[in-house]
């Protein structure tokens, strides 16, 4: 047996799976070869040091108790999580408003700008809003969740009365419609869960935004200023 063959058998020897004539030959080579004997001894010692070394530090004294406490805390937490889930799912009106908000918000952000409409960008929802009847539908749907909301009713009436005029108007007229609808919907979203009536009054029919990115905020600001209740209606919608 040469050194290469001997070293190929190191694993088998160390795992104690070497037997028979091969083991005898292997032993004979170790007696004759100092280098192999030395390398084998090194591996044996390495295994011995790993197996017997006591250098592992001890765990902290409170390890067990801390763990038991954590492990047994779990069942107590489950009802909390369950009740929290109930709170989230319970108010159907809130959920419906959330869906409405997400739908509107999605329209604002997901749709790319219409390249054909290269004029001043008034609101992101412009392309989605096809007619005042659609807007009216949204307001009426929201009214289902808060049928006694006088402000919503008033908004619905306003939209109903102006729909025919605005739908056939110019692009600026269309943006005006959207200013109205955006505002009205933000107001209703803010008012339905809390039950608070918005004091916002209707905007001036001539309020048309010509700015690019800030047009929506400006329109909102104008409406807020007009209502004398600025900020109160916008916040719940953002939080939702």
């Amino acid at each position: 047996m040469n050194c290469e063959q001997s070293q190929n058998l190191f694993d088998a020897y160390l795992d104690k799976s070497l037997s028979g004539s091969l083991a005898t030959e292997f032993g004979a080579h170790q007696l004759a070869c100092g280098r192999c004997r030395r390398e084998l001894a090194l591996l044996e010692v390495t295994g011995h040091v790993i197996a017997t070394d006591s250098e592992t530090p001890l765990l902290s004294d409170e390890f067990t108790e801390r763990l038991v406490e954590c492990a047994t805390e779990k069942p107590a937490r489950r009802p909390l999580r369950f009740s929290r889930a109930l709170w989230v799912g319970l108010p159907a009106a809130m959920a419906a408003c959330l869906i409405l908000f997400v739908w509107l918000n999605g329209d604002e952000t997901s749709e790319p700008a219409d390249p054909a409409n290269d004029g001043p960008r008034v609101l992101g929802v412009q392309d989605e809003v096809k007619s005042s009847e659609e807007l009216l539908e949204h307001v009426l749907e929201a009214l289902k969740f808060d049928p006694n909301n006088a402000d919503l009713k008033r908004k619905a009436d306003l939209l109903r009365s102006r729909s025919n005029k605005i739908i056939n108007d110019t692009r600026d007229g269309a943006s005006l419609l959207q200013d109205y609808s955006e505002d009205a919907i933000k107001e209703l979203i803010g008012s339905v869960p809390t039950g608070a009536n918005s004091n916002a009054t209707d905007t001036d029919g001539g309020a048309v935004s010509e700015s690019h990115s800030g047009s929506q905020n400006e329109a909102m600001q104008r409406q807020d200023n007009g209502s004398g209740d600025s900020g109160t209606d916008e916040r719940p919608a953002e939080e939702l």
Binding site: A41, V45, D53, T56, A71
Partner: protein, 210 residues
């Protein structure tokens, strides 16, 4: 000298006792959980600490492994030992932690960990050179890849067979044997030059071998 016994606390549980405790732990029995933790914690910690060489990380990993084990104890397969299951979870957590560390800091800086730990009293070797060789051995073990290091630690330190290691590492037995073979070859390669430099290396090996 039985260093392991004095360091690793409680004696291992027999199979029937272990299953009884597991059944109780399924019912959130705190005493059973305590018994399972005490029976395994120091062995597990020894393994994880050798993988990480950081006391805080190792303790957190052990805690995480126990909590995961108790959290999923309903899915425990009684065909396996609880320790095998626990080591499997701990190994996974260890690998994830090592990966995160590597992702944050590039290569692992093992010397940082080595220097942060206090050196406990040496019991095995009698001479300074033997101590030095022992340090070199551990330094070399730390340079192995995580699967190779885990294999070596489980094989030598935990006295586990290749089949059990394969279960823990979730690899075939042949892969475990390959890890062991490569680890030994690497250790030999790393340790031989160091030993050559030492005077009286035969005596040192003799002392270390006990």
């Amino acid at each position: 000298m039985d260093v392991k016994k004095s360091q690793e606390g409680s004696a291992p549980l027999d199979r029937s006792e272990e299953l009884r405790l597991v059944q109780k732990a399924k019912r959130q029995d705190a005493a059973a959980m305590r018994a399972l933790i005490d029976a395994h914690k120091q062995r597990l910690f020894a393994f994880v600490w050798r993988m990480h060489r950081n006391h805080h990380d190792a303790e957190e990993i052990c805690q995480d492994a126990f909590l995961k084990a108790f959290g999923a104890i309903d899915s425990f397969n009684p065909d396996y030992r609880f320790s095998t299951w626990l080591f499997t979870i701990a190994y996974r957590v260890t690998l994830n932690t090592l990966r995160k560390k590597r992702a944050v800091s590039g290569e692992m800086d093992w010397t940082r960990y080595a220097s942060s730990e206090p050196e406990p009293e040496h019991e095995l070797a009698a001479t300074e050179e033997a101590n030095r060789l022992k340090e070199i051995i551990w330094d070399s073990v730390e340079q192995l890849t995580p699967p190779q290091r885990a294999t070596v630690l489980l094989f030598y330190k935990q006295q586990m067979g290749c089949q059990e290691i394969a279960t823990i590492l979730e690899t075939p037995v042949a892969t475990v044997k390959s890890h062991l073979h490569r680890a030994r070859a690497k250790l030999k390669e790393m340790l031989s030059p160091a030993l050559e430099e030492m005077s009286g290396s035969h005596r040192i090996l003799g002392e270390l071998a006990g």
